[in-house]
């Protein structure tokens, strides 16, 4: 009689932990400010700052600051897009593996481009891009769809309506397409970095299956352009 009630009480108390409930949103007080990670903003002398920057500095002296997340880095080598892509490639929290795959991909891109560079004749050497980061960014930009389709129900029927997409959604779709393409359509024995570097180079030149997927989406949007008036925003 005493034992079951004690167990139940313990379980209920553990579930009701004040201020420790995990939620999806931020638990910070709204007065907390974001941390400033860029080194350049601290190296500026006091006179060069504008009015608002001075006010911002004074505010920072009084307000508490949020803890910097582990993905935020002040290094010159850190790139938010690459971090995002690495996170999307990560499986079961294995960030070490995802990061090594990403660095191997960039190395593979560099190697392929250098090979092309050394084989090319003199006049074409300038046109070959060797910086893997530039290739990565340009390839992602080429893969981003410009217009998307969304399901809108009207009169009992669901229509695919062409709809403008936000920047975040475009980036997400481009990365998702690349990763799914590389995971599914490769030979059993090809490594992910090799396949990814292949796809990135194709996307950089506006070729390849990911660009085709984007074109298919655009064609469907163009075919359904009559339904564009079903949107209400």
């Amino acid at each position: 009689m005493a034992a079951p009630s004690a167990v139940g009480l313990g379980r209920r108390l553990r579930a009701w932990l004040p201020r420790m409930m995990p939620v999806r949103w931020s638990r910070y007080n709204p007065s907390y400010l974001e941390p400033e990670v860029k080194k350049e903003s601290y190296q500026k002398p006091l006179e060069e700052l504008t009015e608002e920057e001075r006010e911002q500095m004074e505010l920072k002296a009084v307000r508490p600051i949020k803890a910097a997340p582990p993905t935020l880095s002040s290094s010159v080598f850190s790139d938010p897009m690459i971090s995002k892509f690495t996170n999307m490639m990560m499986k079961s929290g294995n960030k070490v593996l995802a990061r090594s795959l990403m660095s191997q991909t960039l190395e593979a891109i560099k190697r392929k481009q250098l090979e092309k560079y050394h084989k090319a004749p003199e006049n074409e050497k300038e046109t070959i891009e060797c910086n893997p980061y530039v290739i990565f960014h340009q390839a992602l930009k080429n893969c981003q769809p410009i217009i998307g389709l969304s399901n809108i129900t009207k009169g009992g029927k669901t229509y695919q309506v062409p709809v403008p997409l936000t920047d975040n959604r475009k980036r997400f779709l481009a990365m998702k397409w690349l990763i799914t393409e590389c995971r599914e359509n490769k030979h059993r024995r090809t490594m992910m970095p090799e396949k990814l570097s292949q796809e990135l180079l194709l996307a950089f030149n506006n070729e390849g299956p990911v660009i085709k997927k984007k074109h298919v989406l655009h064609k469907m949007a163009e075919a359904n352009r009559a339904y564009a008036h079903f949107r209400w925003w």
Binding site: I146, N206, K219, A221, R225, H229, W232, W233
Partner: protein, 123 residues
Amino acid sequence: MAAPAYPAWVTRWVSGQWRNKKRPPALRPPRPLALADKVANRREQPTEATCITEMSVMMACWKQNDFNDAPCAEEIRMFYDCVAKAEKERKNQNEDTLSSRGNLPSSKVNKLLRRFPQITRYV
């Protein structure tokens, strides 16, 4: 002579009520004749879709150039500008001002009326 007992209609006729068009009240209001503190619920018409012209221009360009993005850069830029503008306007519009059509939805009208109700009795 004793007071003549005329029927009621004679007295009424003589007093000229009928000629003065005094009739029994035509309207017997079931509810008090005062404005209520709410409006009827009205289904709000959905606003129109934004940026349709830019989108159709861009799609025409796509059809001509086989869906390549490089030749259509100008149209795409215009489409993006229009979308950004529409998004900004949607964020900036205050809920308590009139909508783009000049209407207020019935829920907001009711909220305002509840703040300033009709005075039905004086104390």
